[in-house]
Chain length 415, copies 2
Amino acid sequence: MKKDLKGTCIIGQSGGPTSVINTSLLGAVKAGLASSSITRVLGALNGIEGVLKDELIDFDKEDPNELELLRQTPASVLGSCRYKLKDYNVDDKDYRRILEIFRKYDVRYFFYNGGNDSMDTCNKISKFMIENNYECRVMGIPKTIDNDLAGTDHCPGYGSAAKYIAQICTELALDARVYPNGPVVILEVMGRNAGWMAASSALAGIHGVGPDLIFLPEVPFDLEDFIEQTKEIYAKKKTAVIVVSEGIRDKDGIYISEYGSDLAKQKDSFGHAQMGGLAAYLGNALKRATGLKVRPIELSLLQRCASHSVSKADSDEAYMAGYEAVRYATSGGTDKMAGYKVVREKDYYRCSIEFVPLEQVGGVEVHFPKEWMNEAQTGVKKEFIDYCLPLIQGELDYVKEDGMNKFAKLKKVKA
Amino acid sequence: MKKDLKGTCIIGQSGGPTSVINTSLLGAVKAGLASSSITRVLGALNGIEGVLKDELIDFDKEDPNELELLRQTPASVLGSCRYKLKDYNVDDKDYRRILEIFRKYDVRYFFYNGGNDSMDTCNKISKFMIENNYECRVMGIPKTIDNDLAGTDHCPGYGSAAKYIAQICTELALDARVYPNGPVVILEVMGRNAGWMAASSALAGIHGVGPDLIFLPEVPFDLEDFIEQTKEIYAKKKTAVIVVSEGIRDKDGIYISEYGSDLAKQKDSFGHAQMGGLAAYLGNALKRATGLKVRPIELSLLQRCASHSVSKADSDEAYMAGYEAVRYATSGGTDKMAGYKVVREKDYYRCSIEFVPLEQVGGVEVHFPKEWMNEAQTGVKKEFIDYCLPLIQGELDYVKEDGMNKFAKLKKVKA
């Protein structure tokens, strides 16, 4: 592979946003604009769909000051998609279209920022280009609040989500103590299969005010146990804060959230039945069993878009991942994801980039390690705190406008 | 009334917390500790209940550095109550007990931080003391995220809640635009009778990304209109952000949230029915009528305890209200609430304290002015933006610990 491959690069964002997904984009854009190998830096609107539809924008036309604001701009500024490419041995229509677009713009670099599906997409595109003798370097930039990607110590976006959840959890726990008999707060956080998000709430507890019970999808959930454990805590503390992963399942693998939706379907035939989410379901079950006052809270989109609560460590690392992915490609590398390699020692933390083959990442989900849970499996051990704490350090120095965070308004000039 | 009344002061917190209720407490405590008229500064645990139960703590025993953290400590640090004193002409048992406690500690100053019920409590206590020839100066310090108190331009706590809601609303609106066909986000905020909280979401819109429709309790809510208006917006934007006050009512005055709870009761007899809140109810109604994807989000406790998002303006004013209430009392004043008087001119804002008779505040609710709503009554006019914007300016310089905001841990030594 020659080192001096010259041509256009395309950068795309995929899957659900994180608070720092635009920071990785900024890193990649800045590296692209600085590189002598990259002739044009384009962005794909709505991920791979933007390539297929020839909806590309030119980053050279953007105001550099506005681009800097990407560090504090919530959601995916290029838009996202959940489009899944087929196996090209079965149907190569999309791939031929991508090749057509790559030829049209002389695209020699493709950077895709997403989760494990996106790494799979990258891998497929790269292989197709090789088989069709089109030289193009393809790199994955990781991103997910779920922290479930293989080949990396942790994922860009997780630290900020963890910081937000931990902060909120302290605030809720203190609020729940205001009245002599407080409510049971049930906080539902994202995480369909992996408990990293729910576990991060435990950081709130290191100063004495945090969640009392944490339920992860890795541990079979039992409704009766949950009620008993909550009652015990309430008897002592006159309040309780419970954190649940949206993906908790019973011993038969059935999602607890489906207990609720099955009932919703059932009631729909009566006319107007409606459902809250998992937190509401558990709250009602607890209320019926104990008579306690319950406050079910579903964090919903807030946990992935709360860019007012970005971790500086996460932001800096996300920028580095974007930037280094481009540097690696322009130095001749391809087919890798820019993962994190970390040194953690007492009071010392260093994160650098390690390039991981895409095929080791696509389709793999990394679960929360059982050995980091406490004996009752309703909380975490110090090992997790030591792992997670460096990821939530520091704050952004936000640019403000009228008392609110200023967000980037890109011109999005068509390429 | 003599100017040099010497004795103990008691400070109490009442009702739901705000992000700056502890900052008013700090202001009052610091003024009390600095005053030569006040011999001891005591705090009542859980408001007036702490007085009745003789559960008082001594602020002189607290570490001054820890006290400073009150500016960034969520929830009511002394605890709160919703205890309502009876009319003493009907039953004066509680009042006699309060007098007994006041005598025990030589209490000559009583400061109560709360909403309009609390101002009523202050007023009753003051009158009882006068009738019983016990000299005691009684002052109210306002507080409520609802912004519905009479006798003040705005309420301590409202600015921070407004700042949080506006910030979140921008983040949610940007997140909702990530996919080509976004969800309808329905954000439920507090405000049983007054729409100030919901209205504050409009601040998000001044930079182009905010709520599309805002429904206040002051305007009769029509479910069909809501569905039609949302459909129209969605047709144009492929997403919509709707903000609703928890207290919206139909033309017959029935709370829309009760539509849901009536159904809940009805379904309960079948066994397991459960309900989300108002946002979930509206979301389901919209989904049934239009098939659109909906994301109902109930901000719940977050909007009153999100002390990670304090407005500096609100914080400074809340401190001033607490401090000035004490200064006024030690100068001979009594039976007043420390309200805000504001000068607003183009690019100029000044807030000072105006003392308002307690009887003008107790039991009165100030509604959102109809003349500040747009013609369709689904949004606000510039007059409101000009009113509210100064209240959300500036940020605290937070003291951090392990990447999270440090909160005050008081010793709470019994008096």
